[in-house]
């Protein structure tokens, strides 16, 4: 296990009709590594992480999760190496209460008893600092609280890898920090994670590596220090200028 990578991608290619979303991507992510992916919209960031957990089919290439090759056909991977996902739009289940949102996966998919699932869910609500909202419906919460519930729901499956797809892009500015805090805590505890985000301050703080994507390819990747101080390519410089000095 220690010798293998958490995620190993070789030659990953995917097209939507005529549009090439991913163009022969190679990427290896170590266990415990925190990777931030940035880049202009339409550059393939979301598509890449959606391929990692099977939400998106891919045309060519290989993806291995913790040494196990995955099928390119769309399927969700439930195994001992579970992958958690947090979406830009939260995607909480609106007809279920917060605690039910958390309990559903462990009960139906992992086969936990209601009591065990409840204990686990309560613990995670404490961790994302909203234990008092357990019985409310998602639409009674603020955006920041909803996204924290979504993170807790993903953690309830005890994932070995967490994917974040622009977790703060749908939030009001004053709620961004409360969500980022939770993700930073998670990073400190050693969770392997891939985060698509434009929050460069956050990237500086937690990332082991920053990947810059454009037009379906990885253009540049580096440690945060080098990435921000000394970008290697013109495209990356331009992007950083736009995002840091607007």
């Amino acid at each position: 296990m220690e010798n293998t990578f958490a995620v190993e991608i070789q030659g990953l290619t995917k097209s939507f009709k005529d549009f090439r979303a991913l163009d022969t991507i190679d990427l290896k992510i170590k266990h415990g590594e925190k990777v931030v992916i940035c880049g202009p919209s339409g550059s393939g960031k979301s598509t890449l992480i959606r391929c990692i957990n099977g939400l998106e089919e891919f045309d060519d290439g290989k993806i291995s999760i913790s040494g196990k090759p995955q099928n390119p056909a769309k399927e969700s991977y439930v195994s001992d190496f579970h992958i958690g996902m947090v979406f830009q739009q939260f995607n909480l289940f609106p007809h279920l209460s917060v605690i039910e949102n958390l309990k559903l996966g462990p009960m139906k998919s992992l086969g936990l008893s209601e009591k065990d699932a409840e204990t686990r869910a309560r613990k995670l609500l404490e961790r994302v600092k909203i234990p008092e909202q357990a019985l409310k419906k998602p639409n009674q919460l603020s955006g920041g609280q909803q996204q924290r519930v979504a993170i807790a729901r993903a953690l309830c499956m005890e994932p070995k890898l967490m994917l974040f797809d622009e977790p703060t892009s749908a939030l009001d500015p004053e709620m961004i920090s409360e969500v980022l805090e939770v993700i930073v805590d998670l990073a400190r505890e050693g969770m392997t994670m891939v985060v698509v985000t434009h929050e460069m301050g956050f990237a500086k703080k937690v990332a082991d590596r920053i990947i810059f994507m454009d037009e379906g390819s990885i253009v540049e990747q580096n440690s945060p220090g080098t990435f921000f101080k000394n970008p290697q390519t013109a495209r990356c410089k331009k992007f950083l200028n736009q995002i840091l000095h607007h």
Partner: protein
């Protein structure tokens, strides 16, 4: 709607002050006379068949509709095609020709196959109504299920639910509240369309009204009563549906 009802009741009461030669002939359904009471009992007796026919047809339609709608959600092109062909084909057949085809045509097919299956007026009407309506219920299911965003399905997938579990715990409970009102609409439609069963001789509301009209020559009075009979039936269904919707809405807060 209640104003219309009151207006018609006033019309009824006017019957007593009509001229002796009589443009009005409400006596045919005057409950105070023996003949009038007999007529009313005969007419109202049609409720039983109309209600039974509608309920059985509606249940069958709700079931067939679901069976037809589910293939539309699949990724399999052949299953999707089955759904489209069924819906387009059945939806384009007018009810009356289909009723004739089932009642007069289908037994010929059974006969040529050596099957001894008889179709009486009741079951002929049930089958026709159920199949004809199922194309519409299938579309209602499809619209309701597809109105639930893709993100819901994806979120279900990322917490390890199977496709069936996602449907059972996430998609269907949310779709149900959107499906119920149009389904109720379809039930009202079935109740009204069941009047067509009169032409193949089923003794439901419309058939009975026709029979009295033929013997009494009082179409206005009898058809007025017939319309009122349907009105009462449909209003009752509407109230029941409102109640059910409310109950479902309030249940949502603690559903699982």
């Amino acid at each position: 709607m209640f104003r219309v009802l009151i207006l018609i009741l006033i019309l009824f009461s006017l019957s007593s002050c009509s001229s002796p030669e009589g443009t009005w002939g409400w006596y045919v359904i005057d409950p105070t006379t023996k003949a009038g009471w007999t007529n009313i009992k005969f007419l109202i007796g049609g409720f039983y068949s109309t209600i039974l026919l509608s309920i059985i047809a509606a249940f069958l339609s709700i079931f067939i509709g679901l069976v037809v709608a589910l293939p539309a959600m699949s990724d399999n092109k052949l299953l999707k095609l089955f759904n489209r062909v069924y819906v387009e084909f059945i939806r384009s057949i007018p009810l009356l020709p289909m009723l004739f085809w089932v009642f007069y045509g289908l037994p010929v097919i059974f006969q040529s196959l050596g099957l001894k299956i008889e179709i009486d007026a009741f079951w002929g009407a049930v089958i026709t109504l159920a199949i004809s309506d199922s194309a519409f219920t299938a579309e209602i299911y499809r619209a309701g299920i597809q109105s639930i965003s893709r993100g819901q399905r994806e979120a279900a997938q990322t917490i390890g639910l199977s496709q069936f579990q996602a449907m059972r715990y996430i998609i269907f409970p949310q779709a149900l509240r959107r499906i119920l009102p149009p389904l109720a609409n379809q039930f009202i439609y079935i109740v009204k369309m069941s009047a067509f069963a009169s032409v193949i001789g089923m003794q439901e509301l419309t058939r009975r009204a026709n029979e009295i009209v033929v013997t009494e020559y009082r179409p206005l009075e009898i058809y007025t009563l017939l319309i009122l009979e349907y009105l009462v039936l449909v209003l009752l269904i509407s109230f029941a549906v409102r109640w059910l919707e409310k109950k479902l809405g309030s249940n949502e807060s603690n559903s699982n």
